[in-house]
Symmetry: C2
């Protein structure tokens, strides 16, 4: 009987928390986590972002990919101000791609990934799991400090000291970043291989209206470049 119980336990799928913005990167990350055999809980944030329409994309993706549960955490990052994504500052347009890696743009939201990962850690503890997936990318990234490998490693170290489950060694916290070393073109190719429906996703920082992307913000420019380089047809609609 004992061996049967052990077998049964082993047959249970591994569980993971996946941070899901509804963009191409987090959608691809979710698809990769599922391919790796994880039963996934998706976590999104309604933080006062001007591109709040991405939450509709997150809902569509979560439904289509069949996550175990999709939690949208509401919080008001606007009370701090300080970013073009949460305040009235204009979103930069038509920036040369070579400029994006240099300096930190005004679309940076203070401590965003620290906050997002902290909530993912809370969710993971409640679900008794230690695996957290985040679609950060250090190559084609827009210059955000909290997308770098050293930041992720430091968070993993913190997380192993932070929770009841980790301290009692019931789980080992692992922050998975399957996209961290990929170019945008490689992400597009990976998504295409996994059969991701691109039309469900949303990347634009400054969407002119629902269902459309501006085509000119950093996020749009990076996405377009990725699809062009990968030789894959995007299926979202760009205004320009």
């Amino acid at each position: 009987m004992k061996s049967l119980a052990v077998k049964k336990q082993h047959a249970e799928p591994k569980t993971a928390i996946v941070l899901l913005s509804g963009g191409l990167d987090s959608t691809t990350t979710l698809a990769l986590a599922q391919e790796a055999g994880f039963k996934c809980y998706a976590l999104s944030f309604d933080y006062g972002q001007r591109h709040r329409v991405e939450l509709h994309a997150a809902r569509r993706v979560a439904r289509k990919l069949g996550v175990a549960e999709h939690v949208i955490m509401k919080m008001d990052l606007c009370v701090f101000g300080g970013s073009a994504l949460t305040s009235g500052l204009p979103v930069p347009k038509d920036r040369p791609l070579g400029e994006m890696g240099r300096g930190i743009p005004v679309t940076y939201v203070p401590a965003r990934n620290t906050i997002f990962l902290a909530f993912a850690l809370a969710f993971a503890e409640v679900k008794s799991c230690g695996d957290i997936f985040i679609g950060v990318n250090a190559l084609d990234y827009s210059g955000y400090p909290d997308c770098r490998p050293e930041f992720i490693t430091a968070f993993e170290r913190l997380a192993r000291l932070a929770t009841q489950a980790a301290v009692e060694r019931k789980v080992r916290v692992r922050i998975h970043t399957p996209l961290i070393a990929l170019s945008k073109a490689q992400i597009v190719s990976t998504a295409a291989r996994l059969g991701v429906d691109f039309s469900l996703t949303h990347s634009c920082y400054d969407p002119p209206r629902r269902g459309w992307a501006c085509g000119r913000c950093d996020a749009c420019l990076l996405r377009r470049k990725g699809f062009a380089e990968a030789g894959v047809q995007d299926t979202i609609q760009y205004l320009e």
Copy 2:
């Protein structure tokens, strides 16, 4: 002219973010930060705690101590469940004090201090400062993993990699924990020395009604013991 400008800059007070729950510990921490010469921004959280009345205490304390600004961040930790402080689980009463340090109680909120410090870091970046005060206590603590010195050190390391200001070396993030090695009696004595008005503060996890403490939850028992040992008269009202 240049030297005058430099002098003026030096005369500006140092700025800090102080996590303020409205309890005795965070109030004492705020008073200590002010004594050290910091201009303080207070940050509280409305996270679905059953002792939400502590937010009234936080507002009273912030006003009385004259902080530069008091931000209350609203978020719904209840969506994750998992703690007696945010769910319907009963709050333990009359636990022997010796038991509190052992194991992690059901009043533990998953990843709470990780989340709170992440928001403090965002606030600090917006205010262009690196000093964050948190009233954690590792001695008379209730058994929470995220109150230990090793957790705080790991967060400080993370924070120095996490934000634009830190990466550009415009600020050096420091997490101040002035109470971490103090007993509750020492905290009470410190608060008394600083002239803290105890009646403004709130500690109870399970307040029977506004303005009253139950007197029997872990927080009440620790507070009462601290005042008794310090030989100081508490000025809040206990039901029992």
